[in-house]
């Protein structure tokens, strides 16, 4: 829930700080339509802002920024703490007293009693700023899966932060564009964390906290993740049982809400499973939101019906047509915050959920990454084999007549990011240099220099999972889902990424976890008692729209006179002839919009 923003600066005037934070809050209003709050500490140069989307404790007691009884600590918080009732009980035992039923107050109390050790006790989706008046420190903290966003700009003894980049930009706090964002965007199809479109505006890494020292005007960033002895499961039955219990528990605790909650049901394995599990808990109160198309190749309504028959509760289904897409597109682009080639689907379904009266929904996001549901889990082996051949061989891919083969050129580079881009990338460095009229070495340096990454050398399913979770899901799926959901004042919750469930999955022997017989076999086998065979024994479609056809019909995207440079124009012409994937055309479309 919510959107947050703030400024900490010894040198700024309170009025100026206040105005800028208010401006940021206005720009973030869509994600927090229910209330607004501003907190100022004049002496310390701190201003926090908050826009509220009320989901837990809908009363005015949930107003933020919030402080404790002694006004020692202040917080502005975006998200949900799913285990707040457990923590509250523990804190109560330690002598804490509470004035509200909010999870926000539990974070304050947890910090007061446990200090920074509190951060790792939180289970949920969150990004918050916490100001400790006595210590003259402010912490920015982000959840362990990076579900809630938090962007910051720390320059010249001043720290600014916000839930969306555009707030920092529009409030005039950071306006210089990052000169390299277009290169990253064309390679990835999104802007990878920690980068943004603005120079020195960074995304706080997941599972980490930034500690801002007010006196020094400097910060440190560290992980708050607790190292525990890793459990190890190499028994299939034990793994299935643990998955069943832990996912069921995750779904249940993520259904906590005082406002209407539902489930996105696409008809695939993951959303069907979440729907069935949620239905056990919420029964007739559970609402489902589904989308269907006239285009038969994309239509999953048959599978949706199979699940809908099994559950009670209100069922909302929506037909999405080409004309809807045409009407929505300008607003979708406006709501993106950062350029992306995905998120159209999330925007549409979030809009319908909002229009159907929901404030929070559960989504099946994360299961493909955790259990090997993508083709990349097989394709990654090709990279290992390819490393045996001379790299010059792969350079030939730049001359390929078939657009889809151009990505093979990424194998020229001995770099994990290049390996990822071979699996998931959009344009090759040679294409990017031509599109942007930039030197290819500049493109290569932007993509591959200065990134500390784990050593990837096995090229097995675990490495594929690392790529999918930490790059694709983190940078594209989760960011797009949050920003598109919040553009409609809708919170999207992701039970598969529940911290305890992720830890459990990672502790399972990879031979069991990535059984090669069938993608996501372990997950399916754990729930064969509730999941119909027609759902799991079907061709994977993914939650995709008929965008190849729709975008080719769009007058603006296909208007090659809008695009600068021969290369871009040629790509658009090829797209019109159906020889280029829509995501490439859509990326160029966004580049030209920023030109």
């Amino acid at each position: 829930m919510c959107r947050i923003a703030g400024i900490i600066s010894n040198s700024s005037v309170e009025f100026d700080r206040n105005e800028k934070v208010k401006r940021m809050c206005q720009l973030l209003k869509h994600g927090g339509p229910d209330d607004e709050g501003i907190f100022n500490d004049t002496a310390a140069g701190v201003t926090f802002g908050h826009r509220r989307l009320s989901i837990i404790d809908l009363s005015p007691k949930g107003h933020q920024p919030m402080t404790d009884v002694q006004q020692k600590v202040w917080i502005t918080f975006n998200g949900e703490i799913y285990n707040y009732l457990e923590l509250k009980k523990q804190l109560f035992g330690l002598g804490a007293r509470f004035a509200s039923n909010t999870d926000t107050e539990v974070i304050l109390s947890a910090y007061i009693f446990w200090g920074i050790a509190a951060f790792s006790k939180l289970r949920g989706i969150f990004a918050f700023a916490l100001y400790d008046k006595e210590k003259s420190l402010t912490y920015l903290v982000r959840d362990s899966s990076g579900i809630k966003p938090l962007y910051y700009y720390a320059q010249n003894g001043q720290l600014c932060f916000a839930s969306e980049v555009k707030a920092l930009k529009e409030a005039g706090l950071a306006s210089e564009p990052d000169p390299d964002w277009q290169i990253r965007f064309l390679a990835y199809g999104h802007i990878p964390e920690p980068y943004t479109t603005l120079k020195n505006v960074r995304s706080l890494p997941k599972g980490e906290f930034l500690c801002w020292n007010h006196k020094k005007g400097t910060c440190n960033i560290h992980s708050y993740h607790i190292i525990r002895d890793k459990a190890y499961i190499d028994n299939l039955d034990q793994a299935k049982e643990a998955i069943k219990t832990t996912l069921g528990y995750a779904v249940n605790r993520q259904l906590i809400a005082d406002a209407p909650i539902g489930v996105f049901l696409s008809g695939g394995i993951d959303s069907s499973l979440i729907t069935l599990l949620a239905s056990r808990e919420k029964k007739a109160q559970l609402k489902t939101i589904s989308i269907y198309f006239n285009e038969k190749a994309y239509d999953e309504s048959m599978y949706q019906s199979l699940i809908l028959k099994q559950i009670d509760g209100e069922k909302f289904t929506h037909l999405v047509k080409q004309s809807d897409f045409e009407g929505f597109l300008p607003q979708i682009i406006d709501d993106m915050d950062l350029p992306t080639t995905d998120g159209i689907n999330s925007w549409c379904i979030s809009k319908f959920a909002h229009d159907d009266g929901l404030k929070a929904v559960l989504s099946g996001l994360g299961a493909d990454e955790l259990f090997g549901g993508y083709p990349s889990f097989n394709r990654i082996r090709y990279i290992k084999s390819a490393k045996k051949y001379p790299v010059s061989l792969f350079k030939l891919a730049n001359y390929s007549a078939f657009d889809a083969y151009k990505k093979i050129a990424f194998l020229t580079y001995n770099h994990p990011i290049a390996d990822y881009l071979f699996l998931r990338g959009l344009y090759s460095p040679a294409d990017i240099s031509q599109i942007l009229d930039a030197d290819i070495t500049e493109v290569e340096d932007v993509l591959f220099a200065n990134r500390q990454l784990p050593y990837i050398d096995n090229y097995n399913e675990q490495d594929a999972a690392w790529f999918e979770i930490n790059l694709y899901m983190q940078n594209q799926l989760l960011r797009d889902t949050d920003v598109m959901g919040m553009s409609h004042g809708l919170e999207v919750r992701v039970p598969f990424l529940d911290e305890d469930f992720v830890k459990l999955t990672e502790s399972i022997d990879s031979r069991i976890r990535f059984d090669k017989t069938r993608p996501k076999k372990l997950l399916i086998d754990s729930f064969t008692d509730i999941l119909p065979e027609q759902i799991w024994n079907r061709t994977k479609m993914g939650f995709t729209f008929p965008l190849q056809d729709w975008m080719r019909e769009n007058q603006e995207i296909t208007n090659d006179s809008l695009y600068r440079g021969r290369k871009s124009k040629n790509i658009i012409k090829a797209f019109k002839n159906n020889n280029v994937h829509w995501s490439k055309a859509f990326a160029l479309f966004q580049i030209q919009m920023h030109a």
Binding site: G115, I116, A117, S120, F209, I221, H222, S223, Y224, H225, I226, I227, R228, D229, K230, Y232, V391, Y413, N414, H415, T441, E444, D445, F448, A449, N450, Q452, P454, Y455, N458, Q462
Partner: protein
């Protein structure tokens, strides 16, 4: 260490008005960290041996001095000497890569074409003389140095965020090992520490052992089996890979650094630990003894003697260093191993070579 070496050479060259180029076989240009060396002085060859060979020969045809950073580059060294006989070709001898029989080409290079062998420790120098009959006058010992960009502490308190992360408190006695945990390199001696911890946990109920470094899955299974075998599940914390920006804080967190390895050419990690005021225990049968200045900065032990390891750990744990003593240890370490000192020695070596 190559980064420190490159940084020093760059500054020496700037001072002396020399032209300096660094070629790296395994790295690419994206691996360059420009705080150590500007991009114009560097080329990465992305594992392309032929390209490295040709570029080296071309560059060396006009060079006065070439330094090979590994014995495996001997063939390039020979080719350089044949094309440009006036060029002085020096070799850096690190550790295990030269403590073994060498091929005919490598031997020939050492004997006939190599002007100087820069040994990272006295132990390596000794090995060069015993195993390869290297001329003692050719072998110069130049110990490695503390990375100039490592964040050295000025206060020595244990970082709160790491105590939280590992579930520790100030009452814990923390032993720390940082090394690569590879199934192919089983000479680092951390299994000895695991065994020792198993014996010491009765006498030191608050003892913890933080074992850090990237590991492969085979080694992880082996280590976890060892942990089970010696019943130290509650004492050993396996952290995996450590980010550079948290390295110093881990040295501050610990009370003692232990790496009873058998095959350290020098052991730069010991010097880094000492530079953070952390006492160290190392092996006595490799280059590590140079890093502790033959006992002045730390303690070397026979790594096969478990009781000696245990006794040494007990000695340190019974007499933990005060914050002031940690500061002194840092100062003393930097007296020997700061980059300025290293750079002066390297410059003298190169000046001597040029004048020879």
């Amino acid at each position: 260490m190559t980064r420190t070496f490159a940084h020093s050479l760059f500054h020496i060259s700037k001072k002396e008005n020399w032209n300096f180029r660094l070629f790296s076989l395994y790295d690419t240009r994206y691996d360059l960290m420009s705080q150590y060396l500007p991009a114009k002085n560097y080329t990465g060859f992305n594992n392309n041996r032929l390209a490295l060979g040709l570029a080296s020969i071309k560059e060396a045809s006009k060079a006065d001095i070439v330094i090979l950073n590994h014995i495996n580059l001997s063939l390039i060294g020979i080719a350089i000497k044949l094309i440009n006989p006036k060029c002085k070709v020096l070799l850096i001898a690190h550790g295990i890569e030269v403590w073994r029989p060498l091929s005919f080409i490598k031997k020939t290079f050492l004997k006939r074409y190599c002007s100087k062998i820069i040994c990272v420790s006295n132990f390596t120098k000794k090995q060069m003389m015993i195993r390869h009959q290297a001329d003692p006058d050719k072998c110069i010992v130049l110990n490695n140095a503390v990375d100039p960009f490592i964040k050295l502490p000025d206060t020595f308190e244990k970082p709160e965020y790491l105590l939280n992360r590992y579930g520790l408190s100030s009452s814990n006695q923390i032993i720390f090992t940082l090394t690569r945990l590879a199934s192919s390199e089983q000479y680092k001696g951390y299994e000895q520490v695991i065994k020792a911890i198993g014996h010491l946990k009765q006498a030191f109920p608050h003892i913890k052992y933080i074992l850090s470094g990237q590991y492969d899955s085979t080694e992880e299974i082996r280590i976890r089996n060892l942990i089970d075998k010696y019943a130290v599940n509650n004492e050993v914390i396996l952290t995996g890979f450590l980010n550079d920006n948290e390295l110093t804080d881990h040295f501050l967190l610990a009370d003692l650094f232990v790496l009873p390895s058998k095959k350290e050419g020098f052991g730069i990690v010991f010097v880094e630990a000492l530079a953070c005021g952390l006492p160290v225990i190392c092996g006595n049968a490799d280059g590590s003894t140079d890093a502790i200045k033959d006992g002045r900065l730390g303690t070397s032990i026979n790594v096969d003697d478990l009781s000696e390891l245990q006794d040494t750990i007990i000695n340190y744990l019974n007499k933990p260093l005060t914050l002031e003593k940690r500061q002194n240890l840092q100062n003393e370490c930097l007296l020997y191993f700061d980059e300025r000192h290293y750079r002066e020695n390297l410059q003298k070596l190169l000046n001597d070579e040029q004048g020879a």
